[in-house]
């Protein structure tokens, strides 16, 4: 049986893991590799590293960090987002040790290149990061971190989704990121007429919320950042509480390989 996933998110800014509140306010958490090591040990289903200042500062992906993390000998799949602007960078991320990449700025600036990346790596390696908000009239807006502006979905983005160049959409509740119990489930219905699997992220903090998301047939995974860092073994504890959902059961690492 194919299980739904709990993705542990590590958000990085200026090289440090941070706690983010609506991508406006940040608190430092420590070295990214330490947080990743914990998530690996706790048996999260995927680890998502997002470096939120790489595109804005035109730094490109942080290959050094990915290699450093891969060299720790992770046994959990690694997803990476940050500064990816072309096919060569996407390939270098995979070679450095990530299994999949997550694209955001490139969806706005050069959607054609997304297609090139899909042709090289396969669509299964590509996730679209889509920060969304709903206004008081219930209208949905797609946020561009580069310009700081909201817009409607571009026809290029719709084509990428319809043509199968992207395998999953990371639906980020931009306004409720870092807000306990903040995730707005109405955002998931924005993709009602699309068949792309969805990953819910931003303000998912309780087992009850995670259960609500995971029981949605369109949702393939839930992503949690800040709220996994508040307590030891948060992953196993969340998973134990989610036994009624099709999530992979908790995993406990042991030193014995044979």
């Amino acid at each position: 049986m194919l299980r739904k996933r709990l993705i542990g998110v590590v958000t990085i800014r200026n090289g440090w893991a941070i706690q983010s509140f609506g991508y406006r306010r940040y608190l430092p958490l420590g070295k990214p590799e330490c947080l990743v090591e914990n998530l690996d040990r706790w048996g999260v289903d995927e680890i998502f590293i997002q470096e939120i200042d790489r595109s804005h500062r035109e730094l490109g992906p942080n290959i050094e960090l990915i290699s450093k993390i891969a060299d720790q000998g992770l046994s959990t799949p690694l997803l990476y987002a940050g500064g990816i602007s072309n096919e060569a960078e996407a390939v270098s991320i995979i070679r450095a040790g990530a299994e999949r990449i997550c694209l955001d700025a490139l969806l706005h600036s050069n959607p054609k290149e997304v297609l090139n990346i899909a042709n090289r790596l396969g669509a299964q390696a590509i996730i679209a990061s889509i920060p969304l908000s709903l206004d008081e009239n219930g209208n949905c807006h797609w946020f561009n971190y580069q310009s700081g502006q909201n817009s409607d979905f571009s026809t290029a983005l719709i084509s990428l989704i319809d043509d199968g160049a992207i395998s999953e959409a990371l639906v980020i509740d931009k306004n409720n990121d870092g807000t306990p119990e903040g995730f707005n489930f109405k955002l998931l219905s924005v993709f009602a007429d699309k068949k792309i699997p969805l990953i819910a992220f931003g303000g998912l903090s309780t087992a009850k919320q995670l259960e609500h998301a995971l029981l949605n047939p369109r949702v393939s995974a839930v992503a949690v950042g800040n709220f996994l860092n508040y307590r030891e073994h948060a992953v196993q504890k969340f998973k134990t509480s989610l036994a009624t959902t099709p999530i992979r059961p908790p995993f406990y690492k042991t030193r014995n390989l044979v």
Binding site: G73, S75, G122, Q124, S220, R248
Partner: protein, 203 residues
């Protein structure tokens, strides 16, 4: 550390770094294979893989590695393919354009169809008596693929169910392929990878 040297194909689109770390963690030695001469002296060849089939075969061709891999395998040495690496073992693939593979295990690679992707943790159903997979039946492994290796039943060791069974492990004599990523499937994956390397090299 074991004396077994696992040659790891370094052909451009593979997640060679992750796989190399796993090999070392399991106590084997590892050597990156960048050119045909690097194959000499290795006990097993491991083909990692994240990427599209045509680009991977093009890269192997440019590195002049196709014939040396086939020769290594025909001599009875162990060859292990992971994810795209397993698909490369096939006769051909229909991904993007019809492309010939390494032709080590009969069969062709075709789109999964519905759903379009198989992403996430799925359980292995071992359908054929095979020592390497004997302790992995019912265990969960990490999958991430859109194309499937359609092999004759005698080579299919295990399947995993999406809306229908999808081939998840193939084996023919000294050649074995995993559609999932054992290197990223935590403890069960590490155990399976270690067992595969050891048993294929001991055979």
């Amino acid at each position: 550390m074991s004396k077994i040297i696992v040659g790891l194909l370094n052909y451009g689109a593979g997640n060679s770094s992750s796989v190399r770390n796993t090999i070392l963690k399991l106590g084997f030695r590892s050597r990156l294979i960048n050119k045909p001469e690097d194959i000499k002296g290795v006990a097993a060849l491991l083909i990692p893989g994240v990427g599209a089939f045509p680009a991977a075969m093009k890269s192997l061709s440019e590195l002049e590695l196709i014939e040396p891999i086939q020769e290594f395998s025909h001599q009875g040495n162990a060859v292990i393919g992971v994810c795209l690496g397993m698909q490369l073992l096939a006769d051909a693939s229909h991904e993007l354009a019809y492309t010939r593979g390494l032709e080590l295990i009969p069969g062709e690679v075709k789109p999964i169809g519905k759903p379009e992707w198989h992403i996430g943790w799925n359980t292995l159903e071992v359908i054929q008596q095979e020592d390497i997979a004997s302790t992995s039946d019912g265990r969960s492994f990490y999958f991430n693929h859109a194309y499937e290796f359609e092999a004759p039943p005698e080579y299919v060791v295990a399947v995993s169910r999406v809306e229908r069974p999808v081939v998840s492990m193939v084996k023919k004599n000294n050649i074995c392929g995993f559609q999932f990523h054992p290197e990223k499937s935590q403890l069960d994956g590490l155990r399976l990878m270690g067992k595969a390397i050891k048993e294929l090299c001991d055979a």
